[in-house]
Amino acid sequence: MPEPPLGLLAEFASADALLDATRRARSEGFRDIDAFSPFPVEGMAEALALKRDHRVGWITLAGGAFGFLGMLAVQLYVNWDYPIDVGNRPLFAWPAFFVVDFELMILSAVLFAVIGMFWMIGLPRLYHPLFSAPRFGLASEDRFFLYIESRDPKFDQEKTRTFLGSLGALTIEAVRP
């Protein structure tokens, strides 16, 4: 007897089919579901009822502010620490300092955004049970997959399989660890 599956993976031929299936699964009451597609599918976030997520923006903003203020602090500090007359220019030459400041703001914002993104989506994660599913590799090709996890309260291996079949899935696989 194989151990119980982690969930069921249903394959669809098109983005529209996947979108449709996802909506139906959702309205059926499934919550622990995920959709996989070779490219971002418009409307999928709504279909999955993902909350509007502003974290990326905030993280980027935080990164920008960090870079801007940090570099400004560095520039002010170094000129305070060792004040040197440079061509009779002001010691705290704000317009000149803003140039490097701007760059560092951008650099820091982008670094924060990228690191934040990977943190939010939990990557890198080289091993994942889904990779064991024989047809899952097509998710990066031209197939679209709906995945219902077994931890969903509504999950029942047989019923769910039937339900997925009713959505027009081309194949349905059980994902095992």
């Binding site: 040197i84 007359d85 440079v86 061509g87 009779n88 220019r89 002001p90």
Partner: protein, 953 residues
């Protein structure tokens, strides 16, 4: 490669040139990929790195190397010696045999700098490029290091052993067949010794070899200008301000009588010259005259004062000049001066004496006096010697401090004649062309190494005291001459002391003279003019022929300085070429020949020819070609051998300064290592060098005023160092540039680097022309770092390597510089210099010993520039600080300021109300270079003063 240097058998510079020519692969490589060629012959650079001197010397490499963290104290500290402090000694170096009084600065026993003796009544602290550069000759690694017999190293003992035998022979025959050929000298001791020799060996003869006074007899009497008394000076081809033993003296007078002139009357100068000179450049009224017409101009001028008939064939331009000159002379009887150049025909000099006598100038603005130095009497000229050798009358020839094989005129095949003399002995500082053909060669010491004496051109004498022990196994000329008659020759010091027993009777007087650096001499005895009545050699030029003028090279002179890297790399004042001599032609002649600057031309005269690069010289009289002596040497040393052409080959003994001949393009072009092209100033350039007149006394222009800035004005109670350069006083002599090089360890980089635009001079003297190229106005402008208060360079440096000091210095921190060169890109004056290669490698070399220990030696990849001699500012500030006082005005002198004979450079504290520099800066003539750039330079200029309608606007 096939050649060997005379001493060591090592490859020398000259041979590399030959190597390129003999190797077809090298040829191809050089043509296709000059830089790759550089890689392939990497030792070429190494040779040049320390002015061709970096190759290890046999004597120097033997020493145990001293590691940088070693400290080697004295065994017994000499009295008064303070480590880290410099000592100063008054002495003199020689130029054409004349004393050039100097104060030698030594550090830890090494002479590192020469400067003018400010106590000297005539020199007044002024110096010339040659005085400044003489220190480098001391450390010249190519100097002769030991006696040579037949070209092989020998010892003085060997020589002394020979001498015993020769003395026996001469004692027996009264010196018959013994001849001495002595280079120009004014040494009273040497003259005394030669007198003694004549008495002891009555049949021996002493011939004078002086290629710069001609090869014949006399002059026994000279017109000695006393420029300080003259209000009007008319010069017939006399380059008063140009290179010569009197340059510093005249430069001083010039400075006194120009600029604000210190209340003195401004000197008026009129010049007629056969080739452009510094004097012509500074003259109020200048005319270019071909040498064939110079006697006519002189005659016309004399006729104005009733001396002889007026010639008819003057051009309008010449006549106008003669009238101006005559009226100027006439208007200042007793305070005027007519002077004639040393290269003009002798009868012109006699004529000038008569004119001055007529004007009542003699005894006031000039003296007629017997010549100071050794003069060739009848029968004892060089030509007499030549005749005697031909006649087989010469058995032994001692060539003392002269180089006749190189410097004799081309019409005499002296090398061949010399070979006929059975015993040939040469004494000189280098194993030169003559030494190489002599049986014996004896090294002479540098002036700073041994005792001697000499007369300065003003008549005063200087006891030359050594400031360093001889570096090589040399022997003084006084000992050599004494040895001719004595088996116990007195050491040089005793010989000199003996000469001065009358004037300096006791030890106190002797020490006093040594400390002062000069011995005042009684006013020169007036001499009467004896007209030798030599006939004027009327020069006649055929159509298609040109007149040729010979001149000593402006920087290496008659060739004596050929192995001096500083002088080789010093731009010639008017030409701005370095490392070689050129053939100067007039713009009109060049146009007719279809020649441009750099084209190789062939000049032929007296059946001999030379080839050299043409240089179009504004102001050169048409159909006159100027050739410069001193180059084309075959045994000058690693620096001076094999560069340029040898103009002596075209000379004749009868007419050493002029010739007629032909010039033609010979095909090919030369890459000239110039530091500045011909720049005729246009409207834009007039702001660069400015002129004021009595009508328009302010140098300021509209664009200088109302300089607003984002940045605050300079403020503070600190000293504000600044410099003012008086363009009216500046004579363009380059003494400042060489002084700067000596003081600040500025490297010599070699011809190929200069040709690429990589000369390292921190202070350059720019030369500009304005107006008609045939009769241009010529301007000199020394340009050091401006030390801008709002320095654009500093803003560009990413690592704080060039910053401002609270005292307003634009600092350059070499050890912080990473070499982005942003500062130089942003510098509007382009005064910054970059170490493109490692120009100052640590290879052992005596030239390293010259380096100023107070100035960092810069490595590769580092920017450098004028620092206002910060080491001197620092020393004075610390001195004042220890004494808890302010730095006095004049306490800090920059090297350039100190060297300037005309006192054209003033340096000091601008914040000090009473300082000289502040006074100068408030002059109406004061202006800033490129003021409209808003850089607020600390270095400013005082505009040149022109007579209304004569010079400038």
């Amino acid at each position: 490669m096939r050649d060997v240097s005379p001493m060591s058998g090592k490859r020398v510079w000259r041979s590399l040139e030959e190597y390129q020519q003999s190797d077809s692969f090298g040829e191809m490589l050089k043509a296709e990929f000059p830089s790759l060629f550089e890689l392939w012959t990497v030792d070429r650079r190494q040779v040049l790195q320390v002015m061709g001197a970096s190759l290890a010397l046999a004597g120097m490499t033997g020493c145990k190397p001293v590691r940088s963290d070693d400290v080697v104290p004295f065994v017994n500290r000499p009295d008064g010696f303070i480590e880290g402090r410099t000592q100063h000694y008054a002495t003199a170096v020689l130029f054409e045999g004349y004393a050039q009084p100097v104060i030698a600065t030594t550090s830890a026993g090494r002479p590192i700098k020469l400067d003018g003796n400010s106590e000297h009544p005539a020199f007044r602290g002024g110096s010339t490029p040659f005085m400044q550069a003489a220190i480098l000759d001391l450390y010249d690694p190519d100097r002769s290091q030991a006696p040579l017999m037949g070209g092989h190293p020998a010892s003085w003992a060997d020589f002394d052993a020979q001498m015993v035998r020769w003395r026996d022979v001469w004692a027996g025959n009264g010196g018959a067949g013994l001849r001495l050929l002595v280079g120009s000298t004014t040494s009273p001791t040497l003259l005394r010794q030669l007198g003694h020799l004549r008495k002891a060996l009555p049949l021996a003869k002493v011939h004078l070899f002086d290629p710069l006074s001609g090869y014949g007899a006399g002059p026994f009497v000279e017109l000695r200008p006393n420029l300080a008394q003259a209000g009007v000076v008319v010069s017939l081809d006399d380059d008063l301000l140009g290179p010569g033993p009197r340059q510093a003296i005249y430069g001083h007078v010039w400075g006194e009588r120009h600029g604000e002139a210190n209340g003195n009357q401004r000197m008026k100068l009129l010049m007629a010259e056969t080739t452009p000179t510094q004097t012509g450049a500074k003259a109020d009224r200048r005319i270019g005259v071909p040498p064939s017409r110079l006697p006519l101009v002189a005659q016309a001028l004399a006729a104005q004062f009733g001396l002889g008939p007026a010639p008819a064939q003057l051009t309008a331009k010449e006549r106008a000049w003669v009238m101006d000159a005559a009226s100027a002379l006439d208007g200042a009887r007793g305070t005027s001066l007519l002077t004639v150049g040393r290269f003009a025909p002798p009868e012109l000099r006699a004529q000038a004496i008569r004119v001055n006598q007529a004007l009542g100038n003699v005894g006031r603005t000039c003296d007629v006096a017997p010549a100071l130095g050794l003069v060739a009497a009848a029968g004892e000229t060089f030509l007499d010697l030549v005749r005697d050798i031909q006649g087989g009358k010469v058995a032994a020839l001692f060539v003392l401090n002269a180089n006749p094989v190189y410097q004799s005129p081309g019409e005499i095949d002296f090398p061949k004649l010399y070979a006929k003399v059975p015993l040939r002995v040469h004494a000189g500082t280098h194993v030169d062309e003559t030494a190489a053909r002599s049986g014996w060669h004896m090294p002479l010491p540098h002036a700073l190494e041994d005792w001697s004496d000499a007369r300065a051109p003003d008549g005063s004498a200087t006891i030359i005291q050594p400031v360093v022990r001889p570096i090589y196994d040399s022997r003084s000329i006084h000992e050599i001459v004494a040895a001719l008659t004595s088996d116990q020759p007195a050491p040089a010091k005793d010989a000199v002391r003996q000469t001065w027993t009358t004037e300096l009777p006791d030890e106190a007087a002797w020490v006093g003279a040594l400390k002062a650096g000069f011995v005042p001499m009684p006013a020169s005895t007036a001499a009467t003019l004896t007209d030798r009545g030599a006939s004027t050699q009327q020069m006649s030029t055929q159509p298609g022929q040109v007149e040729i003028v010979f001149r000593p090279d402006p920087t290496i002179h008659d060739g004596a300085f050929a192995n001096n890297g500083w002088l080789q790399e010093l731009p010639k004042p008017l030409l701005k070429t370095t490392w070689e001599n050129v053939v100067a032609v007039s713009p009109a002649l060049a146009l007719r020949m279809k020649a441009t600057t750099g084209d190789i031309v062939e000049v032929e005269a007296n059946g001999r020819a030379i080839t050299g690069p043409a240089w179009i010289l504004p102001g050169q009289p048409d159909r006159v070609v100027t050739l410069f002596l001193g180059y084309g040497r075959t045994r000058a040393g690693r620096i001076g051998t094999g560069i340029g052409y040898d103009a002596y080959r075209l000379r004749s003994a009868r007419s050493p300064w002029t010739a007629t001949g032909a010039i033609r393009l010979s095909g090919g072009r030369a890459i000239l290592a110039t530091t500045q092209d011909h720049h005729m100033l246009d409207a834009e350039g007039e702001d660069v060098v400015r002129t004021v007149t009595s009508q328009k006394p302010s140098a300021l222009r509209q664009s200088d005023r109302n300089q607003s800035s984002f940045y605050p004005d300079w403020k503070g109670d600190k000293p504000a160092w600044g410099m003012v350069i008086d363009l009216d006083r500046c004579i363009g002599c380059n003494a400042c540039a060489v002084a700067c090089q000596a003081e600040n360890n500025v490297p010599v980089v070699g011809k190929d680097q200069v040709a690429k635009g990589r000369e390292m001079a921190w202070l350059r003297v720019d030369r500009y022309y304005a107006g008609d190229p045939e009769e241009p106005e010529t301007y000199f402008q020394p340009v050091p770092c401006m030390h801008c208060e709002q320095a654009p360079c500093e803003m560009g440096c990413p690592v704080h390597a060039t910053v401002h000091s609270p005292e307003g210095l634009n600092l350059m921190v070499y050890n912080r510089c990473i070499g982005t060169r942003t500062c130089s890109s942003y510098c509007p004056y382009k005064v910054r210099r970059f170490n493109w290669f490692d120009y100052t490698t640590d290879a052992p070399s005596p030239t390293e010993a010259q380096r100023n220990p107070d100035v960092t030696v810069r490595g590769r990849g580092v920017m450098e520039k004028c620092t206002y001699c910060i080491q001197r500012i620092e020393a004075a500030t610390v001195r004042a600080d220890i004494e808890n006082r302010q730095v006095h005005d004049g306490e800090v002198m920059t090297a350039c300021q100190q060297a300037c004979p005309a006192k054209a450079i003033t340096f000091g504290n601008l914040a000090d109300e009473g300082s000289a520099v502040r006074t100068q800066r408030s002059s109406e003539r004061n202006y800033a270079l490129l003021a409209e750039q808003g850089t607020r330079p600390r270095t400013t200029y005082l505009a040149r003063v022109a007579e209304e309608g004569v010079n400038g606007d």
